[in-house]
């Protein structure tokens, strides 16, 4: 039987600012059998989304397919007229995007959008399409399948919307679905539900899929085969088990091992807390409290990880500690002094000793300033350095964060994501702080790059005795670097203590849910977790799942 999708020597070009074209995808070939799930994995810029879209004959604006061939059901898509492609899209091949919230039109109901392709392509009548949509809602375990689709996108949760988008892709019973990072934007506890729903649905419908992600553990649950891509070329390809257990290429090995990095179990001596939050209650509106009676203590030269999913209040905690958001009640004590609630009432010395690093290095750096200016500013502001002394210190800081000295003359746009985050770290270090608050500092980075940033932070801590408040939703990161852990849920601390204690059973039910939801590099992990949860539920144990959250 001929393969469903055959891509041969695919070349895709992107347009640079000077109107010249450069290759993003450099001759990738793949084949996909009917009903097969192929995982495309790689860091951002590897070209995996571009390949996924190309399999629909689509290139984003600023990109063009420049060579090779894309055959779906033996029909050549490269160079096919727009009208031919339009008739295939949504019917034979469908797309599931990363952000469901953005991919749904806010002006129409879910049903109108889910059924649109089926009806406008004349595949089904509206009634048939609706019936099929409701069947899919039920299969994807959406609540109240009969009425679910009457709602507007903003009226349902992110995880539900992601499943609704899967239903939208499946409504015409396509031969191929391109999943483009469908669970990346979700919390781990939601991700597991969505992943399980997608897995069951594509198996039951017999649909082939291209599953694009940067998370090897996620794709391991769902793919029959995996292709590892880097810089627009194929690194390695093989059955999922082989890629996970016997990777051949160095890059694949790095991807597989990234989650296995455990920080050296440092047993630092516990001194008096350097930063303490006492009974903090805060919110953006008195009727809607985001933090409820939160107390934490950070010992010097240690890392305190604050874990929780979106909406748990962890970033608000950072805003209160730094003084950006004055608390309604409670106080922050830093090195024995009670800090003023408001940022503008804090002394320069207090500001200097408490620094912050943000999630998005792109936004945290002024694009119009060179790195030298970005790093030199705190040196001048806190220490009054200028001229040669300042330049010398900037170079030292760059070396410290493992960046070349000549980066001082670059603008942020000339740096990669990981390099930008290193500049952000150097900027925080320039103030010679005692405590750095790291707010999701690795979330926007690719796993291998994030790993390097974590190692750097650990090394700096060992060298200087800095303390970190490390805010994250990623438990793998927590396992790697934390000394103690605070688990937050809906603005409250549900569990806190030393790492070993929090990570060893018995857990608080929420901690348990969080921990068991982190995908592992094991093809059977998803089924095992779900079976275990079902078993415990059947035994009448109280088990949280994301539906109960």
């Amino acid at each position: 039987m001929t393969p469903l999708l055959e891509i041969d020597d695919l070349r895709i070009e992107g347009q640079s600012e000077g109107d010249s074209w450069f290759e993003i995808v450099k001759g990738v070939s793949l084949t996909l059998k009917r009903g097969e799930v192929l995982g495309l994995i790689g860091e951002s810029g590897a070209g995996k989304s571009t390949i996924g879209l190309a399999s629909m004959g689509y290139a984003r604006s600023g990109c063009r397919i420049s060579g090779g061939s894309i055959r779906l059901n033996e029909q050549e898509l490269f160079g096919a007229p727009h009208e031919t492609l339009r008739k295939i899209r949504g019917v034979r091949v469908a797309y599931v995007a990363q952000s469901a919230a953005a991919a749904f039109n806010p002006a129409h109901t879910l049903n109108a959008q889910v059924c649109e392709a089926a009806v406008t392509h004349g595949v089904m009548s509206m009634d048939e399409a609706l019936k099929n949509a409701k069947r899919l809602y039920a299969k994807l375990r959406l609540p109240n399948p009969e009425t679910f689709g009457d709602r507007y996108p903003h009226q349902v949760s992110g995880g539900q919307l992601q499943r609704a988008m899967t239903a939208m892709a499946m409504v015409c019973k396509p031969h191929l679905i391109v999943f483009d990072e469908p669970t990346t934007a979700l919390d781990v506890t939601t991700q597991i539900e969505v992943l399980a729903a997608i897995k069951d649905a594509i198996r039951d419908e017999g649909t082939a899929a291209l599953y694009i992600t940067h998370d090897l553990a996620v794709v391991a649950q769902i793919a029959d085969r995996i292709m590892v891509l880097r810089h627009g070329t194929l690194v390695e390809e093989g059955p999922t088990g082989q890629i996970l257990h016997e990777p051949k290429q160095a890059y694949t090995k790095a991807l597989v091992n990234v989650r296995r990095v455990e920080g050296e179990a440092t047993h630092r001596e516990s001194g008096p807390p350097v930063l303490e939050a006492r009974n903090l209650t805060a919110g953006y509106d008195r009727s809607l409290l985001v933090l409820k009676d939160v107390s934490i203590a950070l010992e010097s030269a240690t890392t305190l990880a604050v874990v929780g999913e979106s909406g748990s209040g962890k970033s608000t905690l950072a805003r209160v500690l730094t003084g950006l958001l004055p608390p309604i009640e409670g106080e922050t004590v830093f090195a024995g002094e009670t800090l003023s609630r408001k940022l503008k009432d804090r002394t320069k010395e207090q500001l200097r000793r408490l620094q912050m690093i943000y999630q998005m290095p792109d936004v945290a750096l002024n694009p119009r300033q060179k790195v030298e200016e970005i790093l030199g500013r705190p040196l001048t502001f806190y220490f009054g350095r200028s001229g040669a002394a300042r330049r010398k210190r900037v170079e030292e800081l760059l070396e410290w964060v493992e960046l070349p000295r000549d980066f001082a003359q670059r603008y942020p746009s000339e740096l990669s994501g990981g390099q930008k985050q290193r500049v952000c770290i150097a900027r925080a270090l320039a103030a010679e702080p005692t405590v750095i608050i790291c707010d999701e500092v690795t979330s926007a980075l690719d796993p291998v790059v994030a790993d390097g940033v974590l190692r750097l932070l650990l090394r700096i801590q060992n060298e200087t005795g800095l303390a970190y408040v490390f805010i994250t939703h990623d438990l793998a990161t927590v396992k790697a670097i934390a000394d103690s852990i605070v688990v937050m849920y809906q603005g409250e601390i549900v569990q806190q203590g030393p790492k070993a204690e929090v990570l060893t059973p018995p857990h608080h039910p929420y901690t348990d849910l969080l921990l068991s939801s982190v995908p592992e590099m094991d093809t059977n992990w998803l089924d095992a977790v779900l079976a275990e949860r079902a078993r415990r539920k059947a035994q009448g144990e109280k088990v949280l799942d994301s539906a109960g959250l």
Binding site: L53, L85, R86, A94, A97, N105, P106, A107, H108, Y152
Partner: protein, 319 residues
């Protein structure tokens, strides 16, 4: 729905507040005009006694704030005051003129708004094509010419050369609707040409702006036709800016038509106000100013309210 009601109440309260503020400004504005009203009425040769008598009858000796509240109180009761020039009640003078102005504005809007939105949609749908470019060139050239010039050009072509339409747009109560429409054909065409470009450009820009949203890409990947994407996926989400520019132009049709009325000698509010300014008929100027301001605020408030209502997140709250 409560959030919507609260927002609407807020807008209405803000509108009323703005109108009050404008009434103060109009009153103060006419107050600080140089010259004395009594003197102006009686002319240079008036005796001081006569001037004083007039001042007395017009209550000009009262402090300004008392006169303001008298004026405002009168307006709230529907009494716009009396013209200084001919002693007729202003309400009566304005009534007919306002009707004429609104008639011209309404007919122009009924042609210009659908035309502009349609052209904007076409231009956005066929972006950067020759069609888009010709629409842009045509509408931009009409907006680049001052409206009185457009008016005279139309008169020259259609009234003088071709003799298709009258050059003077006189309307009377006794005319039938058809006759009236024929009479205002040229001023109406002038106004349409002047306002279409602005609305069309913004419609096009608003649609193109929405076109870069991920849900448009999603629709494209569902195989939806370009025309349906433009109309069904982009247009409802571009409504808010489009409503705003449409209403701004409607306000212009009511308030900004002075030049066009003068060119075509059309008996509307603009003409009346220009005459009143020339005659130093302060109460009439005040009343006209207030009506223009009220129309402007009312239309903008409507734009705000429609923008709010066009947001599905507000129309369909979470729970």
């Amino acid at each position: 729905m409560n959030a919507v009601l609260r927002l609407l109440a807020q807008r209405i309260a803000l509108g009323a507040g703005s109108l009050l503020a404008v009434s103060v400004l109009i009153f103060l504005g006419t107050e600080i005009l140089p010259g004395d009203v009594a003197q102006a009425i009686l002319g240079q040769a008036a005796t001081p006694e006569a001037v004083a008598a007039i001042r007395e009858t017009l209550d000009l000796n009262q402090p300004a704030y008392i006169r303001y509240f008298d004026w405002l109180g009168g307006i709230l009761q529907g009494d716009l005051g009396t013209s200084l020039a001919n002693r007729r009640p202003i309400g009566e003078m304005i009534g007919e003129r306002l009707q004429n102005t609104l008639f011209l504005a309404a007919v122009s809007a009924a042609i210009a708004v659908p035309l502009a939105v349609f052209l904007g949609l076409i231009a956005a749908r066929f972006r950067n094509s020759w069609l888009d470019k010709s629409i842009s060139i045509a509408t931009l050239s009409t907006i680049s010419m001052p409206e009185f010039f457009v008016g005279y050009v139309l008169i020259f072509i259609f009234a003088v050369t071709l003799r298709w339409a009258p050059s003077l747009a006189s309307v009377y109560d006794s005319m039938s609707l058809g006759e009236k429409l024929y009479a205002i054909a040229l001023p109406c065409a002038t106004l349409t040409l002047v306002v279409v470009a602005h609305m069309m450009r913004l419609t096009r820009a608003a649609i193109i702006n929405v076109m870069s949203s991920p849900y448009i890409e999603m629709a494209e990947l569902k195989g939806v036709t370009r025309s349906r994407i433009t109309l069904y996926h982009a247009f409802p989400n571009a409504l808010s800016p489009i409503i705003n520019v449409v209403v701004l132009n409607l306000a212009y049709l009511v308030v900004g038509v002075v030049l066009v009325e003068v060119v075509f000698v059309y008996p509307g509010m603009g003409q009346l106000m220009v005459d009143a300014v020339a005659k130093r008929d302060v109460p009439v100027v005040q009343a006209c100013g207030l009506i223009f301001a009220a129309a402007y605020i009312l239309l903008n408030m409507t734009a705000d309210i429609l923008s709010i209502l066009s947001n599905p997140k507000l129309r369909h709250p979470r729970s």
